[in-house]
């Protein structure tokens, strides 16, 4: 037998082989991000609307500089410079999953600060909000109406109609009626 002549080399190579496997097992399957919440949990938090922040409250929190809320502007820096919620921090959407962002967010989680994500509209911020929700951030909200409504509200300061404009999912029209009108014209 060949290896019988050199048993020491065989043991050495065996040890190396085992080491490689152990190292492989340890480093294997460690993705940087993983889902902590499944879709049923996410859907539940969407339906009970716990993750929504209405603009009136947002204005109130921002003006009194409430330390338990931090506004995160996910628009690009140019839009942020043009105008943003007071004391908001800017994390452009493309930087959302970067290491620094995660560090910042983890700090807020430790301080029990509520993170409020916003962009120009709610739809624009919706994806980021849902992604962070799925990654396990529980104390995270999205500004409904977005910055468009927020900045408009500040200027006009009018009386809010019965169903505020920022509940964009309420039908604005009687669609069936309009469709009928369209056919009669």
């Amino acid at each position: 037998m060949i290896h019988a002549k050199n048993p020491r080399r065989l043991t050495l190579s065996l040890i190396v082989f085992v080491l490689i496997i152990i190292v492989g097992l340890i480093t294997m399957n460690k993705p940087e991000f993983s889902y902590k919440n499944n879709s049923a949990q996410v859907l539940k938090s969407i339906l009970n609307k716990e993750g929504e922040l209405i603009p009136e409250k947002a204005i109130f929190y921002a003006e009194e500089n409430n330390p338990s809320f931090v506004f995160v502007d996910i628009r690009n820096p140019y839009e942020y410079i043009k105008g943003h919620i007071p004391n908001a921090i800017n994390i452009p959407l493309t930087e959302l999953l970067s290491k620094e962002t995660m560090k910042t967010f983890d700090k807020y989680v430790r301080d029990k600060t509520t993170i409020v994500i916003y962009a120009n509209t709610q739809t624009e911020a919706n994806g980021s909000w849902m992604l962070l929700k799925q990654l396990g951030y529980s104390d995270i909200k999205v500004l409904i109406g977005g910055f468009e409504y927020y900045s408009k509200e500040l200027k006009e300061n009018e009386k809010v109609p019965e169903t505020p404009e920022y509940f964009v999912e309420t039908p604005k029209y009687d669609f069936a009626k309009i469709a009928k009108e369209a056919s009669s014209n």
Partner: protein
Amino acid sequence: MNKTYYFLIALTFALGFGALFLPEKSHTKEITPEQLFYKMNNPSRFVTTDQVARLIIESDPALLLVDARSPDQYRLFSLPGAMNIPMKELVDSNGIICSKWVDYLDIEGLNVIFFSNSDVIADQVWVICTRHELDNLYVMRGGLNTWAETILKPQKPFESSPIEEFALYDFRRGACQYFGGGSISIKSDVVADPVPRIRRKKKTVVAGGC
């Protein structure tokens, strides 16, 4: 037999035994959060109401419109040919998209367009479906509210508007007629003349002969 063989056998067994205790991987089809993030940032997931109108008029066979609102709202009004997948009933208790919906959504080559009254609910459905490895999903920007404003009630552009605006307006007016039932008013006094009927005279059989 050599001792090393015993050792090798023991080692293989040990490793095989260890494999038994590896954490069980979930069998749900999901994309990674990074992939979801990448897809989320792609602005082409939004389509305009004009694009949707054009696809419906052309009766694109690869189009599936999905109304993500409640069944009550769906019954009152929806887009022609749209199916209803209420967001509430999208996933089961394990967080997996119900198989009755997957049968519709997971067809190769099919483009699925989600819509709701605005685009928030449609976008939420989009995020959930995209996480579960469904492809070719889109969101109608502005939803039915914008649909009503652009297609059902098109606004005439200003005189100074660029020509493209007028072309778009013409398209929308045509689309409006298409979706409204297409009753283009026809003046009643123009009645086509009755087509005169000319009857052929019967051929008389030649009398006589041999």
